[in-house]
Subunit: 419 residues, 2 copies
């Protein structure tokens, strides 16, 4: 069995050792003298915390980082993003996903919830790089279009993708949104998810237009009410964005134990509106955090996303006590882990996902409050090492093969470059 000993690490302000056996934290205590397969010596300079779980992204869009910014939504999509995406092939997706995973690892994130194309390439990239991932099989089915797949095809595609999955990788079903998937297809996808015990992942209430169109087309129901009527909102369903929720929407989400992925940077950059974090937490909703894709962010940093989440909550409420650092940190870590089916925590018996951050770093002094420093001050330069599922996937700021990942991604960018 794979064993890992983390020596003299700071945990909740005390120096201790952590022994990982297989993919679990087996023991925590001073002076553990195990004969581990690998030892990380922290010398009291590194703190152990739960890593970040990114619950909504489109990873390969890192290839389009900086490709088109500061544009109106329609111009941005029609004239830039969609034409570029149309050129993407499987090799691009593989390279772009590896680039995005590299970026996430280097900013302390061990899981991503993916919704993009060529899912088999994303499965492969996640498996090779050792991160956890839910790879969502995207489903588009406009009413009357030829893109709707039969329930048998949906099931067959999901089962095919779910063959021989790497450790930590799950398959999800990802109907894109209510405005791109017709009702019968939403029901089919939901039925297959139920049958195969796969999570569901959908964009929901991202823009006011989506809400208004939904009310007009579906008997004055909000997107949440409509999706609930279809049966899609249930325990573990991931609803990305949720910018425009009513009190009743929040009650439904809380009651069903569905999960919100709050994406504050994307919402602010695209002028979608501001998610009401305090209202969602107050209603008992399970709130997690996502970066969305690099085209609308333009990075995949969960650390930066936490700061935007905290500050957006203050701005939305006009109350500086809203969006507290510990609440936002919980959303980005253990709440995300709970969505991902991970028993996260730096405690014996927990799954061995461990982030080691530098304490002797200018961003981490004053050193009164580690969580405040991580939410409000830190950036990826404090991330020292990352353990995911018991494996060290980044050590001392290095991810194996990073130069090759970057140069391969740069090669892929050439085909999107405009003269």
């Amino acid at each position: 069995m794979n064993t890992l000993l983390i020596k003299n690490v700071s945990l909740e302000g005390k120096i201790t050792d952590i022994l990982v056996e297989g993919n679990k934290i087996a023991r925590i205590g001073s002076g553990i003298a195990a004969d581990a397969g690998k030892t990380l010596q922290c010398n009291g300079h590194l703190a152990a915390v739960v890593p970040f779980y990114n619950t909504h992204t489109h990873t390969a869009m890192t290839l389009l980082r900086g490709y088109a910014d500061d544009l109106a939504l329609f111009t941005w999509l029609n004239e830039h993003i969609w034409p570029a995406e149309a050129k993407m092939d499987a090799a691009d997706i593989y390279a772009g996903t590896r680039l995005g995973i590299l970026e996430m690892i280097k900013s302390g994130c061990c899981f991503f919830n993916e919704m993009y194309w060529y899912s088999a390439e994303a499965v492969r990239a996640a498996g090779e790089m050792g991160v956890r991932a839910d790879i969502g099989l995207v489903h588009l089915a406009l009413p009357g279009s030829s893109t709707a797949r039969s329930i048998d095809k949906i099931r067959a595609d999901a089962l095919e993708l779910a063959k021989d999955l790497p450790a930590g990788v799950r398959i999800a079903l990802a109907p894109h949104a209510i405005y791109t998937v017709c009702e019968s297809s939403l029901r089919d996808v939901t039925a297959v998810a139920e049958e195969l015990k796969m999570p569901l992942h959908i964009h929901c209430s991202e823009t006011l237009r989506e809400v208004e169109d939904c009310r007009r087309e579906h008997n004055n129901m909000t997107p949440v009410e409509y999706l609930d009527s279809v049966g899609l909102i249930k325990e573990g369903t991931l609803l990305a964005h949720c910018v425009h929720l009513t009190d009743h929407d929040r009650k439904i989400i809380a009651k069903r134990k569905a999960v919100i992925s709050h994406c504050p940077v994307s919402n602010m950059k695209l002028c979608s509106g501001t998610f009401d974090l305090q209202a969602a937490l107050g209603a008992g909703c399970r709130v997690t955090i996502g970066t969305d894709g690099a085209s609308s962010n333009n990075n995949l940093s969960m650390m930066e996303e936490m700061k935007f989440a905290a500050l957006a909550a203050k701005l939305k409420s006009g109350d500086p006590t809203a969006g507290k650092d510990e609440d936002v940190f919980r959303c980005a870590t253990v709440n995300g882990a709970s969505y991902a089916g991970v028993n996260a925590g730096i405690a014996e018996g927990c799954d061995a996902d461990i982030l080691l951050v530098e304490l002797d770093h200018c961003r981490m002094v004053g050193d009164y409050n580690l969580i405040a420093n991580l939410v409000y001050s830190a950036d990826s330069s404090v991330v020292h090492s990352l353990i995911c599922n018991g494996r060290v996937i980044m050590e001392n700021h290095r991810v194996p093969g990073e130069e090759e990942i970057i140069s391969e991604a740069r090669r892929c960018c050439d085909k999107f470059r405009r003269s």
Copy 2:
């Protein structure tokens, strides 16, 4: 004369060499074969851009980073920040300023406009670490209080501080705000600034309460109108925050060639409101960017501040084309440099302030738009080297003495720690 040769650096997409002689960029071109005192070999992997100029901060407050967050303004100041500040001595200010300068250098910033206590310590720290700085002599003079200094004392203090200044350091006069400095003192400080040709630096229109109080006390004038009536608003006067401006305020600021320091993170964290970047740029105001102090931010990263500035502008206007990356980058770089009296630019004859950023970095790919990547994607991990005033103050991610600066600052934090 000090000479520096930067070889094979990427400049606006082309690989070239840059020769620095003394504190000026002397030559730019391919294959410069000078016998320079120092050579930085970039191998095409680093890009040269103008560094960041932080136009409003309280640097030594880095010692109070994470000390008290997510509190209402009055609780935060009265119960936490002011009692802690009361314990600060000159040694703390020196250590805290060095910590803050370290952080700024490591995130690509070569200038800070300071408003804090024990100014001689800040002058010393800036000089030792080789950054540019305007050190503002803080002036408090509540009506009827004993803190008002005579005009002779203001002049004498400023002249004393201005003795034997290190290269790149200037002395500014910093009346704190209209609600902490009485009108006669504002006039005295303005007169001394005029006489000694020193810049002025003041908080202005940060909160709605400040505006309302001002209107009530000063014949319905806004803070900008009131300060203009006192004569304080003139070319180069730095007005920090400017969250609540009227069209008339913007006209005054533009006409007088005063300078706005926009501090989006602090404004959002303290719920002060949202600065209208588009309106200020549209009115022809000189807009620069500041981080404010680490207590209300909680870092001094101009890169992060740019992203917040861009996104806050979109949110404020509801227009995704507002807060364009190039506009925000200009505010954070050349506009700030112009305030600081620096002729910034990577061009022959310009002052030799040069930031070298990594191109083969996961945050910098896709590589279509360097400015978009710096504003929206990068963090301090892309900052490779920094040249300020012709001197290399950070090379290959290292600032001389950084371990000692951090450990000294941590020692200072002990006295503020609550049991």
